[in-house]
């Protein structure tokens, strides 16, 4: 199947919002999505964007059942390791179910890895839910390591009132 991978434009944010929700439904957490295309437009485009995005598009003749030609996306941003330096964090990678098995996910992942190398990043990091066996298998087959299983790393988070309380104690 023919498809293209290109940098997202502000006009793509409605499609990205739609696909973020589809991914959240797959991860069984649709009620957790609190941002819309407005925040995506504000935060992803400008001199200091909070994230970068690539979208996968198919020609009109291959459009989805619902008439969409933007069928996949990857969102990533640059991060830092005080041991290894520049790194890339891949926040989301998603291809609509009816377009899977055509190499689109692999192409999006490869495009992010290429950006990482171009920017002299030594690592590509991301997270996967422990029950998401198809994704775990996909990534492990490409040489990814599970640092939680291997080294014991856990993600921790402050949000809501706990974050507000913490900030109020700042000197």
């Amino acid at each position: 199947m023919r498809f293209t991978i290109s940098a997202a434009k502000p006009e793509d944010c409605k499609d990205i919002e739609r696909m973020i929700m589809e991914l959240a439904v797959y991860e069984n957490m649709p009620d957790q999505v609190k941002i819309s295309h407005k925040e995506l437009e504000r935060d992803g485009f400008g001199p200091n964007p909070f994230y970068h995005c690539l979208v996968a598009e198919v020609p009109e003749e291959h459009k989805s059942k619902d008439g969409n030609t933007t069928v996949g996306y990857v969102i990533f941003f640059y991060t830092y390791s005080t041991w290894k330096g520049r790194t890339v964090y891949m926040e989301d990678l998603y291809v609509m179910p009816e377009f899977r098995g055509n190499g689109i996910g692999k192409a999006l992942l490869g495009a992010v890895a290429k950006e990482a190398k171009d920017q002299l990043c030594s690592r590509l990091q991301f997270s996967v839910l422990d029950w998401n066996k198809p994704s775990l298998d996909f990534y492990m087959a490409k040489g990814a390591e599970d640092l939680t299983a291997k080294e014991g790393w856990h993600f921790l988070r402050f949000h809501g009132m706990a974050l507000d309380n913490l900030a109020q104690e700042a000197p």
């Binding site: 330096g85 190398k117 913490l166």
Partner: protein, 171 residues
């Protein structure tokens, strides 16, 4: 104890580099540290920095046994959560052993959360090794939660040859 928390400057990179090595020794991985003072200067103090830093300093009369007045640091950067929007990630939080127990670690962390909230972030994220009980206890006591234990997210990484192959589209 009398101390101040302030934004890190280019000149602080020598002390940050020293303390990064001290933290790596504590985490039992000092041979993993590949970046230098020069990398920190280039990556943290250019037009599009990969990270931001804050430093904890004590007055001259309270300097460390080896004569240091810069005795703690935190490095952080802005990131994106596709469900909640802008977030801040705290890469490292460290206070030299002889200055612990005086509220300096907490002051650094609260400062990062204050800066994050000011930038419109709704989360402060970071990682901790599961065997690092003293750090886990410290953070959980402040009201954070363990995303890995509670939701099952695993930290994944591609680097070295695996990253190279991905970038070249070989897998």
């Amino acid at each position: 104890m009398d101390f101040t928390i302030r934004a890190a400057t280019f000149e602080d990179c020598k002390d940050i580099s020293r303390m990064i090595l001290e933290l790596a020794e504590f985490e039992k991985v000092s041979d993993h540290v590949k970046i230098t003072q020069r990398d920190l200067e280039q990556d943290g103090f250019s037009k599009n920095p990969f990270f931001h830093g804050i430093i904890a300093e004590v007055p001259e009369h309270l300097k460390s046994r080896e004569g240091h007045t810069k005795i703690g640091y935190s490095l952080y950067f802005y990131m994106y959560n596709t469900w909640k929007g802008r977030a801040v990630y705290m890469v490292d939080l460290y206070v030299m052993a002889e200055f612990r127990g005086k509220g300096i670690g907490k002051a650094l962390m609260t400062k990062v959360s204050q800066l994050g909230l000011a930038a419109g972030c709704t989360q402060l994220n970071f990682t901790v090794l599961d065997w690092n009980k003293s750090s886990l206890d410290f953070y959980l006591k402040q009201g954070c939660w363990d995303v890995t234990s509670e939701l099952g997210y695993h930290c994944m990484r591609c680097e070295g040859e695996a990253l190279q192959h991905l970038a070249q589209g070989e897998l």
